[in-house]
């Protein structure tokens, strides 16, 4: 390690970072804005992968398009960056063809519940063996801050200059209603709880969803005069309520008011593949 004797703080090469083996350090610094929480969520994911003890070669990460979609390009695991909204269909193929793999979809709210909305609800309905990490920044950040499926009522966006008056999706409620078996929500500030939640959900089976509320200072916060990434982290600190087992119908997010976080659901039911193996394979003579 390259230590400078004169300073109290050591200035070091990026390869020395403890997570450099699971990151593609040649692509750092990443493109995410200053104060964006995406990098923090990725740190939590990497730490959870380590903690879960799962063989890193047996984990595949699939992303869609958008700021969160870049995760597939930054993580040093088997990963694929799909077209817009199509992360879940790609992951479905992976999970069905190779049940040894732990398949993770890491994408944004716009990609997962608007453009890929049908894939999301139907993969949940079929109980596909996928862990979905949905980073919710309340708008389409990468393309300049258009209103999306989670933009709160009255929030401004480039496509809603007088405010958005469409009701947003409540992702935990949507997931549970569609058939997911594990549903949690955290903010980017709940690092340790988020990490524990990912480590808990990663080895489980079925369609699991973890929503992460994430600061987007450049697009969403700027248009709504919410301040910097740090201001948003402080907002999460003051306004989140941890309530495990909360009724997901109460977990709406508005421009003001509390954000309910925690684990909403953790159940087991047979996956689509379990049904296939049990009921269809014997009939077609496959073992």
């Amino acid at each position: 390690m390259n230590r400078s004797a004169s300073s109290t703080t050591d200035v070091v090469d990026k390869q020395s970072h403890p997570m450099s083996d699971l990151l593609r350090m040649d692509r750092m610094p990443h493109i995410w804005c200053s104060g964006c929480g995406l990098g923090t969520t990725l740190t939590c994911f990497i730490m959870a992968v380590r903690e879960s003890g799962i063989d890193e070669k047996k984990i595949a990460v699939v992303s869609g398009i958008g700021c969160s979609g870049r995760v597939a390009g930054y993580i040093n695991l088997d990963s694929f960056h799909t077209t817009h909204g199509r992360a879940i269909p790609f992951a479905t193929g992976l999970a069905l063809a190779n049940p040894e793999l732990r398949v993770v979809v890491y994408s944004g709210d716009g990609d997962l519940v608007a453009i890929g909305g049908n894939h999301f609800i139907h993969a949940a309905r079929r109980n596909m063996d996928i862990l979905v990490i949905c980073v919710n920044n309340f708008n389409y950040g990468m393309t300049g801050g258009q209103a999306g499926p989670t933009t709160p009522v009255s929030a401004r966006a480039t496509t809603a200059p007088y405010g958005n008056y469409e009701y947003p999706f409540n992702i935990p409620y949507l997931s549970i209603a569609s058939g997911a078996t594990y549903v949690a929500r955290w903010t980017a500030l709940h690092m340790r709880r988020l990490k524990n939640s990912i480590a808990e959900a990663l080895p489980k089976k079925g369609f699991r969803v973890i929503e992460i509320i994430c600061p987007c200072p450049t697009a969403f916060a700027r248009r709504n005069r919410l301040g910097t990434g740090l201001d948003l982290m402080k907002y999460y600190h003051d306004n989140s309520i941890i309530k495990h087992g909360a009724d997901p119908r109460e977990a709406d997010i508005g421009m003001t008011g509390k954000i309910i976080v925690g684990k909403f659901l953790d159940i087991e039911r047979p996956t689509f593949r379990d049904f296939l193996v049990e009921n269809v394979w014997p009939k077609i003579g496959r073992k």
């Binding site: 390690m1 300073s7 109290t8 703080t9 050591d10 200035v11 070091v12 090469d13 990026k14 020395s16 970072h17 403890p18 997570m19 450099s20 990151l23 750092m28 610094p29 990443h30 995410w32 804005c33 200053s34 104060g35 964006c36 929480g37 995406l38 990098g39 923090t40 740190t43 939590c44 730490m47 500030l189 690092m191 340790r192 990490k195 910097t228 990434g229 740090l230 982290m233 402080k234």
Partner: protein
């Protein structure tokens, strides 16, 4: 550390000490680590990095307990702490005393 009442096991329990490493040119000066370090070790510096941001400095490194929170919260993978081994800790305390 300021203690209102001295714990009975204060002689046997060792407060861990950390050493901070910063990858300056990767930092984007968001201030998360400075705000949330529980021991108030870090400060944003006046200097600019390659991208024009102010990276943090460990202004009070002797207070760092190597809790790892700065590494966990940093969105840029630009800071981390390492536990200082006891031997070294003793050495550095001795040198500190010698300096005083």
């Amino acid at each position: 550390m300021k203690l209102w009442r001295k714990p009975l096991d204060a002689d046997t329990v060792k407060v861990p000490r950390g050493r901070i490493y910063i990858i300056k040119d990767q930092c984007k000066g968001c201030g998360f680590c400075v705000q949330y370090c529980p021991r108030n070790v870090l400060e944003l510096s006046q200097e600019f990095n390659k991208k024009g941001y102010h990276p943090p400095v460990a202004a009070r490194e002797e207070d760092c307990v190597s809790c790892g929170l700065c590494e966990l919260i940093c969105p840029e993978f630009a800071i981390y702490a390492e536990l200082v081994e006891e031997e070294k800790q003793k050495d550095s305390q001795e040198t500190q005393k010698a300096e005083v």
